[in-house]
Amino acid sequence: MTGESMLQVRDLTKRFVLRRSVGEWVRRQPGETHAAVNAVSFDLARGEILGLAGGSGSGKTTLARMLIRLVEPDDGSIVLGGLDVRALRGHDLREVRRRMQMVFQDPYSSLNPRLSVGAAIHEAGRVHHQPGSEDAGPFVARLLDLVRLPAAAAARHPRELSGGQRQRVAVARALAVGPEVLIADEAVSALDVSIQTQLLNLFLDLRDELGLAMLFVAHQLSVIAEVCDRVAIMHLGEIVEIGPTAEVFHSPQAPYTRTLLAAHPRPMALADATDPEPT
């Protein structure tokens, strides 16, 4: 299922400068820094879903945002298909952002309330001159179908849709620009459990249909267990353990992973969910 490596991340680091005291400011000393993400490295292959798990404040979201430079990294490298993402500017940066799309956590605020579903999806495709985007109707209908929404949804405004439907629209908008990597930043965390399952299935389908590589950020281990091929566990800005999901959940090596797994209400269910399915 997984192919060649598409995205290589090496030693990616983000430091936030803490407020300097008056004394430090007068003496022109640099402020104390806090590394939100510290020397993180991983690879992502075509058709692979990599989970990113960890507690609040472990740097998951900062890491995800750095990949498309919504947050500027301080150190390290991001290479997408041979392109050094950190060195890009202007048009090239926009192009690389097109290739790596993001779905945000809150489906209630990630869509412009004034744009209809169809307008939002069509705009994304047209800006990047995606094939078929000259003709709004069929273009939008195809994308809505891809996320299993009826074509009639195009005329609706976000406020008329439920959380799960909005998140599908957000996915459709991301897909409209023809990405190769999809970053889901807690994309199902705000949804209730039954809707979560539907969306997770959608992500799996999309991976199979489009061959997308996905970075799946989530704090819920059960969600990770259901969709991810591999999982990286983050703690205090570092990846403490990375490996195939089943392996990590069955025999965690890092102490923090064990703590995290033990904190799950039904640790055994996680291991079971990752067992290879009987054929």
Binding site: I68, L70, L93, R94, E95, R97, R98, Q101, M102, F104, Q105, D106, S109, S110, L111, N112, P113, R114, L115, E123, A124, V127, H128, R148, L149, P150, A152, A153, R156, R159, E160, L161, S162, G164, Q165, R168, A170, R173, A174, V177, Q198, N201, L202, D205
Partner: protein
């Protein structure tokens, strides 16, 4: 997987149109609409030329020939009020909404870009706001010279700052919204992000505020004309008509009272619209 549940819910769920109208809005729109109509149709409604002098008919009280009487050189007050209203409404609309457009665009860009640009624009706006409004307008008139042009330039220079500040603070909030972050992630240009995604979401506050501003500007315009700094004689505008009747307040009350009442009516109507929009706006918060 067809996800039938989603399909059923989308087809079944269409929100009812919300109540946008209320009596304040209807009453305000009616008053302002009638005044606007009167102003637009002034050439057809006015029985006399606004500057037609007829000394024999001077200081006539309201009658069938002169609905609102005549002034000290026999000009028909009703005709002059119609033409005055025409010029006042035009000037007020232009200065208020030019100020709004300039202010909202400048403020939105400042809030979006941030950094030193924001610091410069922010301090500039603060300086303008800290200046007494009338004094600033007077200063500009002193430079440009008396007349409607001077008043207009002065009011725009003094008026953009509040809109800029309003738009800037709204933009700061909007900037943190995921859908604004999404414009970046989707690779949209800054112009697209600002004008298509941010502006429509923050312009409403400024539009509501502009109903207050219209009334204020109308009074400033009339006030300047009253002081002889706005509309120059013999041109008619509400302020200059009032000023011309000042000497005859006791013997010919209609020259000052009627244009004054029209001014009050206009202000009342616009304020009602503002209240109505605010109330209706709460109902369409999600829009």
């Amino acid at each position: 997987m067809l996800d039938l549940e989603s399909r059923a819910r989308i087809v079944g769920r269409r929100l009812r149109p919300r109540r946008l109208y209320n009596w304040e809005l209807s009453a305000g729109l009616t008053i302002v609409g009638l005044l606007l109509l009167a102003a637009l149709l002034a050439p057809y409604l006015a029985p006399y030329q606004p500057n037609q002098v007829s000394v024999l008919d001077s200081l006539q009280p309201p009658s069938w020939h002169h609905w609102m009487g005549t002034d000290f050189v026999g000009r028909d007050v009703w005709s002059r009020v119609l033409y005055g209203l025409r010029i006042d409404m035009l000037v007020v609309a232009v200065i208020t909404y030019l100020g709004l457009i300039v202010g909202v665009v400048v403020g939105t860009v400042a809030g979006y870009v941030g950094g030193w640009l924001d610091a410069i624009i922010g301090r500039l706006a603060d300086t303008v706001i800290a200046f007494p409004f009338i004094v600033l307008v007077l200063a500009v008139i002193a430079i440009v010279g008396p007349g409607l042009k001077g008043v207009a330039i002065g009011v725009i220079i003094a008026g953009w700052a509040l809109y800029a500040r309003l738009a800037r603070s709204e933009m700061m909030v909007l900037r943190e919204q995921p859908f604004m972050m999404a414009t970046k992630a989707l690779g949209y240009s800054h112009l697209r992000a600002i004008f298509r995604h941010a502006l429509p979401n923050l312009v409403r506050t400024s539009l509501v505020y502009s109903t207050v501003d219209v009334v204020v500007n109308m009074l400033v315009l009339a006030g300047m004309s009253y002081l002889g700094l706005g509309q120059q004689a013999p041109g008619a505008d509400l302020g200059s008509i009032i000023a011309s009747g000042q000497g005859y307040l006791l013997s010919a009350w209609w020259i000052t009272t009627i244009p004054g009442a029209v001014l009050v009516l206009f202000g009342f109507g616009v304020s009602l619209i503002g209240d109505g929009v605010t109330r209706g706006g709460l109902a369409m918060e999600a829009l």
